[in-house]
Symmetry: C2
Subunit: 192 residues, 2 copies
């Protein structure tokens, strides 16, 4: 259980595998992208790109992204109304130097996107399991842009629609390390 | 201007350099860490550590972190009530294999922390400018844990307290790439 101190938009967040068939409208899609867009980033580089596949409006886009996912993810992600591939720009646009914060800042933007999704009654599930190199080629990303993750986004669905093995995982409680394992006062290992 | 579609917790966010002297209480500190704690991560690895320096309660912790910052950041961060160093665990704890998503997931956790901060009336400013290698040594981080950023956190302050050069930046409008430059339908370059 998340603690009662957490803002409801954060406390209610989870990563589902069951989605309803309801579409994610273009207004919602744009709002999610706006949330990512306004994140902070190192030198305001904004080192992120997002490729969206809308299953209802653009089934060929959706199928192209679905095909890039690991088979274990395809099983359930095929029913999501929206798939998004996220990518990080490896180098600073002004200098060409490596931006070591690119993936961090992409994650930060996705964190903002996640909250906007929650505020709109949407749920999302992030996936590391996709063919990143094939995705970069297939989706036409420029050189130096690295695919990071895929995200399935939609409205909450009925876990009963899932295969048995996934159904039980859907109901499993979320687990995390103790706070004392991740946050420290002054020096690593010192209790907050 | 952020668009009106954005949730207020996201729309109001900015990265200030002016902080009031008010302390960030331990309850707020713990709540920020809880927000990060409950973020999602690749294989639920939770590859993040946070070292906090509370200027009011633990001035020696605060000074130790302040000393790690780039001089240009020290100018204004010295007045923040709370400094946090963030770090990413480079390898999966179970297999030892490299976790290429570590920095992404750290960023994601910081994105959640940011929203909890906004909900509590706190503001924060992330910094890439710190001596990362010295920070890892000085703060006692285990081998394989990489310092990523520092974050100044506090209550909004009066920009007039800042040096003139920073004061004007504090009032500058936030700028971002156009949505059409970061979000695409189906293939890179295709308008959403």
């Amino acid at each position: 259980m998340t603690p009662s101190t957490l803002h409801p938009l954060l406390a209610s967040r989870f990563s589902p595998r069951a989605f309803s068939d309801a579409a994610v409208g273009i207004e919602d899609q744009r709002a999610l992208m706006e949330a990512a867009r306004w994140a902070s980033s190192c030198f305001n580089e904004q080192p992120w790109s997002f490729i969206l596949g809308d299953r209802h409006q653009h089934p060929e886009d959706f199928a192209r992204i679905l095909d890039l996912l690991a088979p274990a993810n395809q099983v359930w992600a095929a029913a999501a109304p929206l798939l998004v591939v996220t990518a990080a720009w490896r180098n600073f646009s002004r200098t060409g130097a490596e931006n070591m914060h690119a993936w961090h800042d992409l994650g930060l933007a996705v964190g903002q996107l996640t909250v906007e999704a929650s505020a709109r009654g949407l749920v999302l599930h992030q996936m590391a399991g996709l063919d990143r190199l094939r995705a970069a080629r297939t989706l036409g990303l420029p050189e130096g842009v690295e695919v990071a993750t895929a995200i399935a986004i939609g409205h909450p669905g009925d876990p009963e629609q899932l295969p048995e093995a996934l159904r039980s995982r859907e109901k499993a409680p979320r687990v995390r390390k103790a706070l004392s394992e991740i946050a420290f006062a002054g020096l690593f290992g010192q209790a907050l």
